[in-house]
């Protein structure tokens, strides 16, 4: 993957600005009055107890949910209801809490599906494997191979993902998200259910993605060790309300956060 040195750009430019959003499902308020800024090149963690609204927040960022109130700005422009493929075109990619890969396809094929949106179509050329069709195939395969190299999954390139252990599937899913060459990468509990070694590997890949490609990363994670280690900034939600926003150290010592996690005594 070409290395754009975006990481040299200071981490102050806001790429997504979320203002005072309210999201409710019928009578249930999932998010109330949450404002959040995502800055270019940062690793932002969203944490909170169960049912705090983390996944809802991620879905608002990715555009799957449209809040009833409030504004979502993407690079300075207000974003309204949007179709999933347009989200992908904007440069937003995600992985899922429960792995959502094509189980019968190989790791390589799964990663290639991530490039779907970037392919130009010409059925005729592709059937004959010539001209544009051929050039495209080669170009996309090359990108996919670069990702395979990056994630060190050469040995499972041709293995159907259903046969892979959980940690490896997670890695393939990250690969598919990377295949989009996203500007903003959303990770929904990337380390859930992993053993220590798998977690360490995943942490390293998340950091490497951020460092080498300058990708902005928003992640939801329950493992506090991981969150405190790798994120630049942490946002804490509780009952749909943002109760803290700052560096890991700052958030850790905030009383509200401690109360939310340990209960008020």
């Amino acid at each position: 993957m070409s290395i754009n040195n975006q990481n040299l750009i200071s981490k102050s430019e806001v790429i997504m600005n979320i203002k005072d959003i309210n999201l409710s499902f019928g009578g249930l308020k999932a998010l109330s009055g949450v404002s959040l800024q995502i800055k270019k090149g940062e690793i932002l963690a969203i944490i909170g107890p169960n049912g705090a609204g983390k996944s809802s927040m991620l879905n608002v960022i990715s555009g799957i949910y449209v809040p009833q109130e409030g504004v979502v700005e993407w690079k300075g422009e207000v974003r309204n209801k949007i179709a999933p493929h347009d989200i992908a075109r904007m440069g937003i990619a995600r992985t899922f809490q429960n792995i959502a890969l094509f189980k019968g396809m190989s790791a390589l094929e799964n990663i290639l599906t991530g490039r779907n949106i970037l392919m130009k179509r010409n059925l005729f050329m592709e059937m004959l494997y010539m001209g544009l069709g051929r050039r495209q195939e080669e170009e996309h395969r090359k990108k996919a191979e670069e990702i395979i190299d990056f994630l060190e999954i050469q040995s499972i390139r041709k293995t159907p993902v259903a046969r892979l252990p959980y940690g490896m599937q997670k890695r393939v899913e990250l690969g598919r998200a990377l295949a989009l060459e996203p500007e903003l990468l959303l990770l929904d509990e990337p380390m859930a259910g992993m053993n220590v070694e798998e977690k360490e590997d995943m942490c390293r890949f998340v950091l490497d993605v951020n460092e080498q490609f300058g990708t902005t990363i928003v992640l939801i994670e329950h493992d506090m060790g991981v969150v405190m280690d790798i994120s630049d900034r942490v946002v804490v939600l509780d009952y749909g309300i943002k109760i803290a926003d700052g560096t890991p150290d700052k958030v850790r010592s905030e009383k509200k956060v401690i109360d939310a996690y340990l209960g008020v005594g």
């Binding site: 290395i3 390589l108 395969r141 090359k142 191979e145 670069e146 395979i148 190299d149 060190e152 050469q154 040995s155 390139r157 490497d208 460092e211 080498q212």
Partner: protein
């Protein structure tokens, strides 16, 4: 094709010639981005020249040492070639050595440059750089993770290769300057005792020995070899590099260690080398997997393996075999052996070697019965590998074959000595050790105890210094006993004690893969290695194997006393990172008996268990401790009479 290796007496000269003779043919292949990328001989030569200019600009001169550290990568082989063009001496190091081991070698060798594979190795060198004032630059192959390093001494190999220089050095002349008595490469022997020693091998050593080897096996430009064994090991330099230079065949570098089996299957090497450990591992894995096969398949497998066992070897040795047996073997080949070989990536293997340790006759004959021409060779770094070698049609699993052409072997006081054109030039900066090893007439001491049998085959018994005496006065050859134990497949490593003792005892390491599979099939629950190793059912399993060995030993009048009376299963695997094995996985006997002296004492003090705590080193250098209460189990001892009855 025969070429005159009198005029072409050094690698740089041969390489220059190869660039013409084998122009357009592949010299080295590497799987990268899922595709085998080929470098032709002419391209390889041209890149070697470019890199040589770069090395020269970095101050590398004739006679300087240059360290090479990493997995088998084309650019590391290229670095060796470039250094040799300049008359510098490459010093490959084991890639999984810890920083302190590398520090010793680089300091002793006075290395000026280091060419390393990746960030892991760069980090190791930066850690010890302060202690190595002579080391000027570190060049790396894979830039991953190194972009942000702000150290002026480190630089990517690609940067040097891309730089256009106007150099005032005529490399053609430099190549002409190399002569057959120059040192081609310096290899540090891992050494089961003491510090590693730098073995100096001249071009004459390597070219003369290798061209004989190529002639015996009739290697040609169409052969394929997969380079996967450590570059610091003499075998890689002979079987891959030197033979490829002389025969013009292609070296294939696998994508990564994990993909080796897949890559092997894709390349289908014709020439394959593996230490017994790898062959045995392959067989164990195969048998474990066969346990899960359907009944019909398992039946077919067992049936045809019996056929193969009976007729495979005679067919391979081109002996007369009844037509019906041949037909059955043919059918077996179609149904079982062929697919099996294909699965192992050994379909095209024309010659296969094993060396370094003894290999179980059963394992050895298993591969041969499949039609794989597996042969044993016996050698040393000091001999430029070859001392003895099995020849086609004259293979005996209990020996290491007759002397290699041009090598004389003699046995003095039970110890093996040899002499020949491959004999090394000496240990670097260690006159005393050199004199101790090579005597005035040129005989080299191997340190191995051996005999020559009636067919002129050499048979190795043990390390000469390890051969001791039991209190009964009979010979005690620990390695011989250990090898017998290891042949069973569930014992990965064994260490026997008995010198100056009344009876023989031993430590055992179980083979986790094989025993875990057994545990699964027998509903034995366990949480990890330590737990599994301590289970009494596992003890019983091992005891059964030891019992077989004891029965076997009891048949031998000489070794009747060497039956194992007591044993224990160690709570941890013996590990090179803890210094218990050498980097080539040989047991460091002295260190083990010192570290575990409590256990040895327990053996002879009639205790039936012993508590031990051991320090372990993790891969990243951190240390930890593990402890266990180890049981000691007593075995039956058989009399010679028992066998007769």
């Amino acid at each position: 094709m025969t070429r005159d290796f009198v005029a072409l007496d050094t690698f740089p000269k041969i390489l220059r010639n190869n660039a013409e003779v084998f122009k357009g043919r592949p010299s080295i292949r590497e799987k990268e981005y899922g595709i085998w990328q080929i470098t032709t001989w002419d391209a390889f030569y041209n890149r070697a020249l470019l890199l040589a200019e770069g090395f020269y600009a970095s101050g590398l001169r004739r006679g300087d040492k240059i360290a090479i550290i990493g997995d088998n990568r084309p650019n590391l082989y290229l670095s060796i070639a470039s250094a040799q063009i300049l008359g510098a001496i490459p010093v490959p190091c084991y890639q999984d050595s810890v920083a302190s081991e590398i520090e010793y070698i680089l300091e002793h060798a006075e290395a000026k440059l280091a060419i390393v594979e990746n960030q892991e190795q760069v980090d190791k060198l930066l850690e010890i750089k302060e202690k190595l004032p002579l080391l000027k630059n570190i060049f790396y192959d894979d830039p991953r993770g190194l972009e942000k390093y702000d150290v002026k001494e480190i630089c990517s190999l690609d940067v040097i290769l891309d730089k256009n220089r106007d150099m005032n050095i005529d490399l053609d002349k430099e190549i002409n300057k190399t002569s057959k008595d120059d040192i081609s490469i310096m290899l540090y022997t891992s050494g089961t005792t003491g510090r590693p020693k730098g073995v100096l091998l001249s071009y004459n050593n390597i070219v003369s020995v290798t061209s004989i080897a190529c002639e015996i096996e009739k290697t040609g430009p169409d052969d394929e070899v997969v380079a996967y064994l450590p570059m610091a090991w003499v075998g890689d330099n002979i079987f891959c590099v030197a033979q490829s230079y002389i025969s013009g065949f292609c070296i294939n570098c696998p994508e990564s260690r994990e993909t080796l089996t897949l890559d092997m299957r894709e390349i289908g090497p014709t020439y394959y080398f593996a230490p017994p450990r790898v062959w045995e591992g392959m067989l164990t894995q195969l048998m474990v997997r066969m346990q899960d096969a359907s009944k019909v398949k398992l039946w077919a497998f067992n049936f045809f393996m019996k056929i193969a066992k009976k007729w495979g070897n005679p067919i391979l040795d081109k002996k007369n075999v009844p037509i019906l047996a041949r037909a059955l073997y043919g059918l077996g080949y179609f149904l079982i052996y062929g697919p099996l070989k294909n699965n192992l990536g050994l379909t095209r293997v024309r010659m296969a070697y094993t060396a370094g340790e003894a290999m179980g006759p059963d394992t050895f004959l298993f591969y041969r019965s499949l039609g794989i021409n597996l042969k044993v060779l016996y050698g040393q770094t000091e001999a430029t590998v070859f001392v003895s070698l099995h020849r086609d049609g004259d293979v005996d699993p209990n020996t290491v074959g007759p002397a290699f052409p041009g090598v004389d072997i003699k046995i003095a006081d039970g110890e093996v000595f040899y002499k020949g054109s491959g004999v090394f030039k000496g240990y670097y900066k260690n006159e005393d050790a050199t004199k101790e090893t090579i005597d005035k007439e040129g005989w080299v001491k191997t340190g191995d105890a051996g005999v020559i049998d009636n067919n002129g085959h050499l048979k190795i018994i043990d390390r000469a210094k390890d051969v001791g005496k039991l209190n009964s006065g009979n010979m005690f050859a620990p390695k011989y006993i250990e090898n017998k134990l290891k042949f069973c497949g569930i014992i990965k490593e064994a260490v026997a004690f008995g010198d100056n003792k009344d009876f023989v005892t031993c430590f055992v390491n179980i083979d986790l893969e094989a025993v875990a599979s057994w545990a699964e099939r027998n509903n034995v629950a366990y949480s990890g290695y330590i737990d599994l190793a301590g289970q009494s059912s596992v003890y019983d399993l091992i005891a059964m194997e030891i019992d077989k060995v004891n029965r076997d030993l009891s048949q031998d009048t000489e070794l009747n006393d060497s039956q194992i009376k007591r044993f224990l299963i160690l709570h941890k695997e013996l590990d090179a990172d803890d210094g218990e094995l050498t980097r080539t996985n040989k047991v460091r006997r002295g260190l083990i008996s010192e570290r575990y002296c409590m256990l040895v004492d327990a053996f002879y003090n009639n205790k039936n268990h012993c508590f031990i705590e051991t320090e372990v080193t993790f891969e990243d250098g951190r240390k930890g401790a593990i402890s266990a209460d180890l049981k000691i189990k007593d075995m039956n001892i058989y009399d010679l009479r028992d066998q007769v009855a």
